[in-house]
Amino acid sequence: MVIEPRATEAMRTGRRNRGSAGPAVLLSLLLVTLVVATVYVFAARLFPAPPPITQVAAQVDHQYSLTLYATGAAFVFAQLGLAYAVFRFRDRGQHAHFTRGNVVLEILWTCLTALVFLVLGILGSRVWAAVQFSPPAPDTIQVEVTGTQFVYTFRYPGPDGKFGRLDPALVNAPAGNPLGLDPNDPAAKDDIVTSTLTVPVNHPVELLLRSQDVVHNFFVRELRLQQDAVPGMLIPLHFTADRTGRCEIVCTQLCGLGHYRMRSFLNIVSESAYEDFLKQQAAAP
């Protein structure tokens, strides 16, 4: 039984598939449209990220652009290659060109791809090093950021420059102690607790991220920075904003039903306005 590898006459002569022009043209056109539309949207910068507000963010943008050029070229090459092959080699009754491969070609494009990835990888690593491996400057302002379902709480160490002790057992947001500051610790007396983040312009700032309950995240798109706030960990993150303004801080790590409305503001103000802010906060009860 079974076993009947016999082709139909039409199959052998290729006549059966003379109708391949329609699909070939349509598919090529779709692929070309895809390429043209994608290149246009990126080239015309129809949907740009907001302008960067730190040196590092500008470096990130630069690396992003480099990657866009490299992958964009590959995208155009591959999709147009596909479109060309689909159109050019559609079944017109010709014989397929028999080949099992080409070792030289394969080695060539393997090395080429590896080279592109290597260069991108090295350049990208340098930007990452700028973000992560350079220690903050000595006069850095430290602010602690605490994530709680679904609010951010910011704490400044106050005039003594020291953060007071926190005790989870003392956390009581309704009573005005959302972080659990220990009233018996003298260093805690002058700590300033706020619901928005205010920092001076052109001054290095180090954030210390922590969380009380679940994993949260601190994301400011103008900084090009995201960092999770993980319970049990204190994660540093530093930046120096080069212009004043107000940016939104949003949570990007799924933290519960109010995740979408967990946000705060980053106010970047002049040095003098920052001093005023601190005085004002210290005077508040």
Binding site: W109, L257, H259, Y260
Partner: protein, 589 residues
Amino acid sequence: MSASAQVGIGAPKGFLRRYIFSTDHKVIGLQYLFLALVAVTLGIVLSLLMRFHLVWPAAHLPFVSGGIMTPEQYLALVTMHGTIMVFFVLTTAPQSAFGNYFLPIQIGAPDMAFPRLNMLSFWLTLAAFLCMIAAFVVPGGAPISGWTAYPPLSGLGDVTGPGEGAGQTMWIVSILLFCFASLLGSINFISTTIDMRAPGLTLMRMPLTVWAWFVTAILSLLAFGVLLAGGILLFLDRSAGTSFFLPAGLVVNGELQIRAGGSPLLWQHLFWFFGHPEVYIAILPGMGVASHVLANFSRKPVFGYRAMVFALGAIGFLGFLVWGHHMFVSGMNPYSSLTFSVLTMSIGVPSAIKTFNWLGTLWGGKLQFHPPMLFAIGFVSFFVTGGLSGIFLAQPAVDTMLHATYYVVAHFHIVMGVAAIFGIFAATYYWFPKMFGRMMDETLGKLHFWLTFAGSYCVFMPMHFVGIEGGVRRYADSSGAAYLAALQPLHRFMTVAAFATAAAQLIFFYNFLWSLKRGKEAPVNPWSATTLEWITSSPPPADNFDGHFPSVYRGPYDYSVPGASQDFLPQNVPPEKYARVNQETPNGG
């Protein structure tokens, strides 16, 4: 082939033994396929509800209690859509369904190595699916922690949110069952491939589909074991008061939690040690199918067969070394990010080899645009697009800008969602005649392709731009941050495109069901193909070859071999016969 061939020898007689509690790999493959079809329908409906809610958050929905969807209901959709699609569609259809059905036939075997284990795998998967669905109806509803289920959100019970009580427990139990099923399945796939190949079927003569299923099975074996362990620990944290993933000092909803010593990052490492290979578990079988189908309808051998095999292996191996790229912003050591970044970039090399070789396979061919071919070409297009956007995310410095935005959603939906589903569609159109003995309708199949191809790009390309502008994923609506409002027009466009693309899938379901009953009767080898599934009847008899087990004399893709009298040489045609193949009945058995 006569209908009696379907019955064949050794097929059990009773309905239950033959179609329900069957140990026949073909029946089990179909059971997986139908399970995946049910799951994908549900998954699509959930995604449409999400897309609808994102654009019209205040709309009254008759089936939602209270009329208006709450944020927790939205997050339940997020969780269940992701989980159902990843596990019960993208893992189940390409590997368990088509792998089960065609791996034994393509290697000339009568069944899997362990048929009863195979049956157990399916029933465990079905139990896992029912358990997952049940999470919708338990008190509190389905979990809201996403398919990644990061603790502490997922580790403390309903104190962290609705759905985190019974719903999250059902989720974990379902995942544990699924892990068991996948482990058993992978043992079966590996043993079968190693032990049961036909005489002459050396490893380097295996179809690339078999290679893909084989490598995927190895990945499953190594990855699901880790998820199983992680899942058990999470289960214990929730129900036995342990603290594997929970540190001291947690204050949730004003309550101090009595836990200490655990690490939320530990779960992330365990999860992604599974989670990244899982991406390849979903996509490798699609790569195999694409290679297989492109060669068939280009009437050419696969370009660089050996390189394709090594690339599959390299992707599988490297896939285990890159999980950290999901954790660049997690708080892990930034030096390890660099290592993970370099390793991730290196996966681009074998992926590029595959892409070049697919183009090389088409080049100089004689392309026949049947629906499976169209979907295979679509697979290549989406794989390229989705793969390239991954190069941004592989660099930690760029990832800190795009992480957890819709850019990531676009990336993984295109590469592991759409591309993998195009692989599944290619497989379905290609093998439907073999599985059911009838052809699917070509015109409807092509129409389905055009709408799905254009529609999928319309849904997922704009998503990149939402992400670049800072649109955050997993947000129930855009009211939380002011800048999100500007992204709503893009969301509206994507929602309309999503509904249109989903509607186009009705064409597929109609074609599928109609063709089951009314399709043109399929010959043994409708595509003039070379591999062993095409030398047996459609559908194959119970033992696949009715006692005439083939011997193999050649590689899997001998198309348009110079000197041959026809443009394909099935693997069982002996060398001395190929010139006269039309006069022979080569059965090699």
